[in-house]
């Protein structure tokens, strides 16, 4: 079986459309992030209390809300978690006595006494920890980018690392944007997913770069334009790119549907990221190398011209 035999798709010709498409997505992402006042962090980052309860019978959100509001917890966020029997209660506060979770449990127990529950999960995070976590996440993304860039620069050329970094930022921004548009919370596993996307997207990009490098070597110098070589390389690796993305997407989709509620958003981030990452390594990372080359060459040529001019 073979999905893709020899192809000769003119990726380089459609790159302007791809740029426009990506820019639109990035703009939407940034606008959404600004409108939402930044990413929507969960209590891992903001600090607060989360209580997950599993009731014996399906329970109504409004009953719990009524019970909590009556006792002064007006801004509690209450949601079903996966099924109507499970409920997550979130509070932005820790509680002075640090007995908040017990208090909430007691309130619900007395108000909804005919439907007993077990406490599945309690998370309490101090604001300081959350603050440090954001810093750590930023550091992690920053350092992974720096280290990967150094590696790419060492293995390839500078212009390739430009393409790689642009593609990376592109992927992370759009994934964050998707989360922002759909108002999904960023938890610390999501940060892990983002970093995995960074690694995965580069993996894809580097396979193409590797082929470009190889084709540049085998071709006689000047016998072909860089653009043609890049195009040919993308076509040659296209089959691999699609199959690997396919198998990876396959397992991540399985994880999304069967991996349980806790991992659902994590899997979603990976699905979005792997999709975007595959797209960017074909339509963004490699074309940018060509554009960069042209631009610098143009600048270089103009410089030479100018230099020649002044000499006269």
């Amino acid at each position: 079986m073979q999905f893709i035999r020899k192809t000769n798709i003119q990726f380089m010709k459609v790159r302007k459309y791809a740029y426009a498409f990506s820019l639109t997505l990035i703009t939407i992402s940034i606008v959404s992030l600004i409108l939402h006042g930044g990413p929507r962090y969960n209590i891992d980052f903001t600090g607060g209390t989360l209580i997950q309860l599993k009731f014996e019978n399906p329970v109504k959100i409004k009953d719990i809300r009524a019970a909590l509001t009556a006792k002064g917890f007006k801004d509690a966020e209450i949601k079903h978690f996966g099924n109507p029997r499970e409920v997550v209660v979130r509070l932005g506060i820790l509680g002075a006595k640090q007995e908040l979770s017990t208090e909430i449990e007691n309130i619900i127990q007395t108000k909804i006494s005919d439907n007993p529950f077990t406490v599945e999960r309690v998370e309490k995070v101090g604001p300081k920890i959350g603050h440090e976590l954001i810093l750590d996440a930023i550091k992690a993304i920053f350092w992974s980018m720096v280290l990967i860039l150094i590696y790419v620069m060492w293995r390839f050329e500078f212009k390739f690392s430009i393409g790689a970094i642009v593609a990376l930022m592109h992927d992370v921004t759009i994934t964050m944007g998707v989360f922002s548009v759909f108002n999904i919370e960023i938890s610390s596993p999501i940060i892990a997913a983002l970093l995995t996307i960074v690694g995965y997207s580069l993996n894809d990009t580097i396979v193409v770069y590797d082929r470009i490098r190889e084709n540049l070597k085998t071709l006689k110098k000047g016998s072909a334009e860089l653009a043609n070589t890049v195009n040919r390389s993308i076509n040659e690796t296209l089959s691999r790119t699609i199959i690997t993305s396919g198998t990876t997407l396959l397992v991540v989709v399985v994880l999304y549907f069967f991996g349980g509620e806790v991992l659902r958003n994590f899997a979603l981030a990976l699905i979005v990221g792997i999709g975007i990452g595959t797209y960017s390594s074909i339509f963004i990372a490699s074309p940018i190398v060509v554009d960069w080359e042209w631009k610098t060459h143009k600048a270089h040529r103009e410089k030479l011209k100018a230099a020649a001019h002044t000499h006269k």
Binding site: M1, Q2, K6, Q52, K54, Q98, S101, T102, T118, V119, E120, R121, V122, E123, K124, V125, G126, K128, D136, A140, W143, S144, L147, I148, Y151, V152, R155, S188, I191, A192, L195, T196, V198, G199, Y200, L202, N203, D204, I206, V207, D210, E236, T237, R240, I243, T244, G246, T247, T248, L250, V251, V252, V254, L255, F258, G259, G260, V262, L263, F266
Partner: protein
Amino acid sequence: MKKNTRNRFFLIFAVLAIAAYFLYPTVKWSMMSDTQKEQLKLENQKAYYNLKGKTINLGLDLQGGMHVVLEVDVKELLNRMATNKDQTFYDALNEAEKEVERTDEDFINTFDKILEKKGTNITRYYYGVDRRTKGQVLKYLRKQINESVDRALEILRNRVDEFGVSEPIIQKQGDRRIIVELAGVTNPTRVRNLIGRTALLEFHLLEDNLVTAKVAERINQYIQSKISPNDTSFAEDTTKAKNKQGEQSLEKMFGGNDTSKAQSKKMQAKADTVSHLFEPGLFYLNPRDKQTFLVPVEKEERFKRILALPEIKRIIAEEAPGAEFVWGSKPVYGGKYLPLYLVRKNVELAGNTIKDAYPQRSTDPSSYGQYEVSLTLNDAGARTFARVTGANIHKRLAIILDHKVYLAPTIQVKISSGRARITGLDNIEEAQDLAIVLKAGALPAPVKIIEERTVGPSLGHDSIVAGTYSAILGLILVIIFMFLYYKLSGLVADLALILNIVFIMAIMAYFHATLTLPGIAGIILTIGMAVDANVLIFERIREELDRGKTVRAAIDVGYGKAFITIVDANVTTFIAGLVLYTYGSGPIQGFALTLMIGILSSLFTAIVVTRAIFDYVLDTRTVKKLSI
């Protein structure tokens, strides 16, 4: 088979054998039922922990439990240490707290600045003989904060046994935080009590050695009688009779239904476990002092249960009515034996009378090279201490923290000055630890919970089931796809994929690494990505075949050219994993770990293993057409 190929197969089988060896404990562990585990723990604690230490550890999010991060409550500590407190002091303390929350500045610095702004000086509240200048006071306060973390750590370590958690984790994080992880514990109130309770430090006299020897003898007799049941048919009979009675009455009560049978079975089982407890060599009386019971560490659990038996309680009540058994805090004699002391219940001196304690090098020429702890008592303590030491010269005084004996030094002389030295400590660490313990009774070690995560056992169980299910489903789908797409070559890649998962598990078991829910996700992701190397190779081989190369040449070129790409591509993902491992915490680290292990192992399986199989096939038969 060519020599080269044969060597490669040797390598693969060697790796496989090692993997099987690493995985064996985990498989054995998961096959054991809970009662079997309990049984092993009783019979041979060492073997139990040894086996457990070689298995893949389940993270708290999978087995349920509590993860708590504590931080020194600097505000509370400053409050408790200060003297001459006035309104300005309290105001400044509260302001400092608010400011620190906003700016992440150092608490003491902020507090000091605010006090200055208010026109007063920090030295006013923390003045002492050895600290007159501001610099000295600040240095002193910082030292107190650091010491209070160590104190809290020591107190927690000492107490955590109360939970009976098999592998409690208590570690220092940075210089102000402590992480406590308790598997299986989900009751936050219990943990809060463990943390919040003030440490109880007391001094008790050890029971006289003659009495201790007598108790030891009688316990020994009792155990001996249980080991050879012929001598004690009477005792056996009574327990049996009791059991029967219990059975009958239960049957009467419930009309002989299933529950009663189950109940009686349970009781029978209980009687059996008791009879299993006894064996020779459960304890020794230290021949040096005749006052310390030495229990081999692997028998600790057994002996604890024996001590709880009513017969033993009766022996103590008869022979040493005012005494009780108290365990030592750590094993002695090269970690082989756990000391157990018979201690008088009467409190001779309370720990809150201790003003200060510090470790130092011995000044005595006779104990050159040894260390000691010097301690100072307050006036009331000094008076009590003078009386106690005067009346009990040459007896031993046990230092007990939260019901554990730290040390039981012998009283050499009457000490009436309120300054005592505990001598004969072998190294500085021992002296430091003792000083920490001595201060625990009087000085505060206030900590607050800044992060707390509890996962109930059922959620953890659900997560394991869901995770395992998706991993298997994902695996099957990828295997089917690879076979459909690359035919027989795909099957070779599938074999590599399965080996890859075996290797990941083996490496995790070897390092006793913790498998978390995101860790399972990491393995699942690896399943999808691991075939990438083979996809790269196979696509390359197809290309070369299309160009008309022979099967052998196509395979050679395919592997050769794809290799560089595979390495380059995987290094980047590995870097991302490494960074994640460095900055992440807990479950995230688990994810990064499985991801990194997965990359390394997939390089081996996808390149070495599949190549060996191709070479073997090419060596043994003539292949005109490759199934790819």
